[in-house]
């Protein structure tokens, strides 16, 4: 049995989505960990996949912190050179239309094996595009790997800016990294300053469309990475498909990933499940309230026309 299979455990599939196993991991490469959000799992997979020719293109979100107009505003990119993967590392807490470049990746860049990172909603969008690809000519069979990221909510750009500039008192262009964890929204500046506000203060800026979303763990991904459940600098990884498992096993074998049982670390899988449940409860309630107002239910708009 592989090292990975030995340490993987299973959680509640009703909350995490169907999976083969969960574990904790981080990259073994300093150059990766220096720029990534958590354990650098997403970026490591992209670099490895491109280097080994498993993917010939990856879709990720790039932001320029020094943009004079809109610092930190992400845009989706198709990356074909492993050396460029790290330019897209790190979480941007605002909407980035990763799926918008999917057809371009296949048709303009000629990619045959695309990997995409996306929030749970974006992973869902791509899966639907594979099932019923009405406007996705030649896309469905070119998707090699969907890497989900755990997601509680997202923010419109101006909301994020307000949180950073007005509530944390830091100019967007001075920001080196943003993070959510331990009940707070954190901003790290280029000068090494750290500011934070309680997560409650960010709620008014959450995008409303996130409040009808009940998927926390990107339940339809090949694998999902998140920070919750694992210690700082490590990622919680949920593996769902054999394809993803094989890839991760190879990376562990080659010493690219350091892995641990999630049962050995704090806060552990229980917290992931607790937050998944919280998201499902809260947003299901919102969906019910919307229905009472006569608003359409997500996924059923066509039925109500």
């Amino acid at each position: 049995m592989s090292e990975l299979k030995e340490i993987m455990v299973k959680g509640d599939e009703g909350l995490l989505g169907e999976h083969l196993g969960v574990f904790t991991a981080r990259s073994t490469e300093r150059r990766i960990l220096r720029v990534t959000q958590d354990g650098g799992i997403v970026s490591s997979i992209m670099v490895y996949g491109l280097e080994e020719g498993k993917f010939d293109g990856v879709i990720a979100a790039v932001a320029d912190p020094d943009d004079p107009e809109e610092p930190w505003k992400p845009r989706p990119v198709v990356i074909t050179d492993p050396d460029e993967v790290l330019e897209a590392a790190g979480t941007k807490y605002t909407y980035c239309p990763n799926v918008s470049v999917l057809k371009e990746a296949v048709r303009s860049h000629g990619c045959e094996r695309v990997a995409m990172v996306g929030t749970p909603c974006q992973v869902r969008a791509v899966r639907k595009a594979q099932l019923l690809p009405v406007g996705m000519r030649h896309v469905p069979d070119k998707i090699e790997l969907l890497i989900g990221i755990i997601c509680m909510e997202n923010f419109p750009y101006e909301g994020l800016k307000t949180m950073v500039e007005q509530l944390c008192g830091v100019w967007m262009r001075e920001v080196a990294k943003m993070d959510i964890g331990k009940g707070k929204f954190w901003v790290y500046t280029d000068d090494g300053e750290v500011k934070s506000i309680p997560i409650d203060e960010t709620h008014p800026f959450e995008g409303e469309p996130c409040h009808v979303c009940t998927d926390y763990c990107a339940e339809l991904s090949d694998l999902t990475a998140g920070s919750v459940g694992s210690p700082d600098g490590w990622s919680t990884v949920i593996v769902r498909t054999e394809k993803a498992l094989e890839l991760l096993e190879e990376m562990v074998e080659q010493g690219l990933l350091e892995v641990k049982s999630i049962e050995e670390v704090k806060p552990g899988l229980g917290l992931v499940e607790k937050l998944a449940q919280a998201k499902k409860n809260k947003n299901q309630k919102e969906i019910e309230e919307r229905k009472e107002l006569g608003l359409p239910e997500p996924g059923k708009v066509h039925e109500q026309l």
């Binding site: 980035c96 239309p97 929030t119 099932l131 690809p133 000519r137 469309p209 339809l220 059923k300 039925e303």
Partner: protein, 235 residues
């Protein structure tokens, strides 16, 4: 064996070409059906009785024969499929104003869904080959529960175009900016600005791809995806 008629009304043949673009899968599909009518491929002049009529193109209200053929389908076919946006939702045929040299008085082109009771509609201009393949496979396998969205679209309540995306998704607070609509649009009429689509109405041909492809308008169900996409069928 399912008797299938492929009927072309006022269309460009693009949907048939898209069907043919499924390459070897087309042969598999043809193995499972008996093609009883197809103007482009066969010499058969009359649409015979059949199980399924797949119809491409709009109905020209100024052309008696076209209207007759369309109306006659209800009698002849058990299941009527409007393939592609011209038959399904209207498409750019909605903008026709006649005065074309070949038939200057032909100006009213409406989707099939406006003229007869259609069972399933597949928007798109043309619908991607993989979508047609998926639809026909599910239909031939009798997995009609999974075709429910297409049945709903056949009611032809609207064009399901860029405007519908704005009214029914963005304006109803459901767009999370994934960008799928922009990728699906064949005319690049959609740009995602500040996390929401902006539709250039001058470019929009009302093909319905964006609305149909958006994950927030029609969700096919997680189980279908797990079975048909993640079950390894794609590999």
């Amino acid at each position: 064996m399912v008797r299938l008629a492929y009927v072309q009304l006022a269309g460009c043949c693009g949907c048939l070409v898209s069907l043919a673009d499924t390459y070897e899968r087309l042969l598999d599909i043809l193995d499972e059906v008996e093609l009883v009518y197809c103007q482009t491929l066969m010499d058969e002049r009359e649409i015979p009785e059949c199980d399924v009529a797949v119809v491409e193109g709009a109905v020209c209200l100024n052309h008696e024969e076209c209207v007759e053929v369309a109306r006659g389908l209800e009698e002849k076919a058990d299941t009527i499929v409007a393939l592609g946006a011209c038959a399904a939702t209207g498409n750019f045929m909605r903008y026709s104003r006649g005065n074309e040299q070949s038939a200057p008085t032909h100006e009213a082109f409406v989707p099939l869904t406006e003229v007869v009771d259609v069972d399933y509609a597949i928007p798109g201009c043309p619908p991607a080959p993989e979508a047609i393949e998926r639809f026909l496979t599910l239909l031939l396998e009798g997995k009609t529960d999974l075709l429910e969205p297409f049945a709903k679209l056949a009611e032809g309540k609207t064009e399901y175009c860029g405007c519908d995306l704005m009214y029914h998704v963005v304006n109803k607070n459901m767009c999370m900016g994934c960008g799928t609509c922009a990728a699906a649009c064949p005319t690049r009429a959609i740009e995602i600005v500040d996390g929401r689509p902006v539709v250039n109405e001058d470019r929009c041909i009302k093909c319905g791809a964006c609305f149909t492809q958006c994950p927030r308008t029609i969700w096919p169900g997680d189980d279908a995806i797990k079975e048909l996409v993640m079950g390894g069928e794609e590999e």
